[in-house]
């Protein structure tokens, strides 16, 4: 699941954030620039107007020349009366209104002293905001400064700034919404594709993606569908081949049954009369009887495995005494002297016929391929019942273990065993049907141990069954010191 390390939705969030960032920065730059430009042009216009007005007022002020104390007062009164605040500098500095008496800066005074028109604005943040434009009254040394209030402009600038800020916030919010929706729409095919891929993984091979429009995603969807199509047909072909193979096995087994039945019956008649046969015919007859037994076992095993393949028979669950079953299996084959059975009485709910097949195959395998003393133990381990069949034979080389449960797999192909080569495969299939696990360990030179783990409460029993997938086969080898007994 490493492919899904990026949490779903993270890419969508990233796309949305990028969209908002781009929209926010560009809208912010635009709004800021606009605001600054507007403010500057308002201030310039105000200055131009004030300068033109100041020139006119300076000409008007010429009427009060020559300036005396009284005429200076008259000038101030006259200007104040016309609604203008002025400051007259003729030796002393005399404002027309005491509230409008800004400090006249050095640069302003210097400019005016050179006979030019000069201006100054009060520092930002001070109230009232004043624009002072001044010059020398023509024909005199007196300087007149005309004062204009710019509070209106400041208020306009504030308002403009607020409006722009609100607009910016709106744009950012809008961008977030649009970005989110866009990212979602863009990424939706990706989500759909990953859901489809997961459905394919889960075996819904008919899963396809809708192909809409003609963009990169629709191309992608089309290729995805081609892939799914190819996969589906390949799997269908494979399962058809497998089904054919299984049907063939079943047919072969079925067709062999009738002649084998006749052979088996004839062989058992022949066996009773081996002693009465002429000496030179007896060995051949004995071989024939023995081979018929092998042939019969092969056909029966083939039929059993093809029955398991069709999977039509459900296990019928009963309470089983595993130790007693082992005793019966061993006694029925006359192996009581070779097989030592030990173990506790544990309650096991399972299908007795299937369990018998598994255990009989394990014991037969140990007797025929193992050697030495064979031990079969039964134990309850938590929610499991564990049966182990151990031999002290030559063991099985590690490279054979992974394929040991394969059909017709033989550790030593040259060795002509009496088995069909299907016994362990059958045992594994039955174990899987019982919800159990069949595994093998082997120490070359020390012996082999088969281990069957079954859920004590049956394949569909209450929780606490075998915590592994049914039918799983474990294979491992122990170190030579591990011991197999």
């Amino acid at each position: 699941m490493a492919g899904r390390a990026v949490a779903p939705g993270r890419l969508r969030r990233r796309l949305t954030i990028a969209f908002v960032l781009v929209a926010g920065v560009s809208a912010g730059l635009l709004a800021g620039g606009t605001g600054l430009l507007l403010r500057q042009s308002w201030l310039d216009a105000s200055l131009h107007q004030a300068a033109a007005d100041a020139r006119y007022q300076l000409v008007l002020a010429g009427q009060f020349l020559p300036l005396t104390e009284q005429r200076g007062t008259d000038l101030l009164t006259s200007f104040e009366g016309s609604g203008r605040h002025v400051v007259l500098v003729d030796g002393p500095t005399r404002p027309s209104h005491p509230a409008y008496a800004p400090t006249l800066g050095g640069r302003l005074r210097a400019t005016v002293a050179e006979g030019q028109l000069g201006y100054q604005r009060s520092a930002p943040g001070t109230r009232p905001r004043l624009l002072v434009v001044g010059g020398r009254i023509p024909g005199s040394t007196a300087e007149l400064y005309v004062i204009t209030e710019e509070d209106g402009i400041a208020a306009d600038v504030d308002q403009l700034r607020n409006a722009l800020l609100a607009g910016w916030v709106l744009v950012v919010l809008l961008a977030a919404g649009v970005g989110h929706a866009l990212a979602r729409r863009t990424l939706e095919p990706v989500g759909r594709a990953s859901r489809a891929a997961r459905a394919l993984t889960e075996g819904l091979l008919a899963t396809r993606l809708p192909v809409r429009g003609r963009d990169e995603f629709s191309d992608w969807a089309a290729s995805f569908n081609e892939m799914a199509e190819a996969l589906e047909s390949k799997i269908a072909a494979l399962s058809a081949a497998q089904a054919r193979e299984r049907r063939f096995t079943a047919d072969v087994a079925h067709e062999l049954r009738t002649p084998v039945t006749a052979l088996v019956a004839a062989a058992s008649l022949l066996r009773e009369h081996l002693d009465q046969l002429p000496d030179d015919a007896r060995p051949a007859a004995r071989l024939l009887v023995g081979d018929v037994v092998r042939l019969r076992r092969l056909v029966e095993d083939l039929m059993e495995i093809s029955r398991l393949d069709t999977g039509r028979e459900r296990p019928s669950i009963e309470l089983v005494d595993t130790s007693a079953l082992l005793h019966r299996i061993v006694a029925a084959r006359g192996w009581s002297a070779r097989v030592v059975i030990s173990g506790e009485a544990v309650a096991l709910r399972t299908d007795p016929r299937r369990l018998e097949r598994v255990l009989a195959n394990l014991v037969t395998n140990a007797v025929e391929h193992g050697g030495g003393e064979i031990r079969a133990t039964v134990a309850g381990v938590g929610p499991l019942v564990v049966v182990e069949v151990t031999d002290q034979g030559p063991g099985i080389p590690a490279e054979h273990l992974p394929r040991l449960f394969d059909r017709f797999y033989k550790v030593d192909p040259a060795r002509s065993a009496s088995g069909s080569g299907l016994g362990l495969a059958i045992a594994r299939e039955h174990a899987a049907l019982l919800g159990g696990v069949l595994s093998v360990r082997s120490d070359p030179g020390a012996g082999t141990r088969f281990r069957l783990e079954l859920p004590a409460h049956g394949p569909d029993g209450p929780p606490g069954g075998v915590p592994r997938p049914a039918g799983h086969v474990d294979v491992d080898t122990t170190s030579p010191t591990g011991g197999a007994g």
Binding site: A250, H254, R257, T258, P259, V260, T261, A262, L263, V264, A265, A266, S268, L269, R296, V299, E300, M303, S306, R307, R312, E313, S316, E318, L319, L325, R328, A332, R349, P352, R353, E356
Partner: protein, 222 residues
Amino acid sequence: MLVVEDDASIREVTALGLRRAGFRVDTAVDGRQALVAWRAHPVDVIVLDVMLPGLDGLEVCREIRRTSQVPILMLTARTDTLDVVVGLECGADDYLRKPFDLPELVARVRSVLRRASAPVASSTIEVGGLEIDPGSFVVRRDGREVALTATEFRLLLELARRPGQVFTRELLLDLVWNHSFLGDSRLVDVAVQRLRAKVEDDPAHPRLVRTVRGAGYKLSTG
């Protein structure tokens, strides 16, 4: 006895083996011939192949059961569980899967014959409205005679000998069918169904032959 089998090799070698075991054997190659032979010469036991050309073994079995409780042993070539159960439900007493051992067939034939003629305790057992007479092989229910096959009779008798005791399927297989080693417990289940159909008032809700979950069956005395 009558052996019905379409495959010549199996038929001949089976007949040969049974004759050597001391039986007098007639043979038939298909269902129709089997019924004709049976009507002409009633026998003590029939060995019947399921897969027969024309009239198959199941139909032959049903046909014979309409008039007779003769022991029938089915030979099945099919692998399906279902067919085995259907065969047993048709009234067969036992079945043998192909390929089979001749000694096994002989043993099974002897076993069904023994059931049909076993000289058992002659005292009549009365239980739950049933009157079981082991001597004359007759079961009466409320005074009327009930037709049971030898297997059904033996099953009922074993249960009735110890009313209330729980019999496991394995024990019943051993007692009734003489299957020595892990036989097919469905044999018991199907025979119990058939028995219930004949002796219970309502076979769907058995009052007499009770199932003991996870253990087996018992005859209720209540």
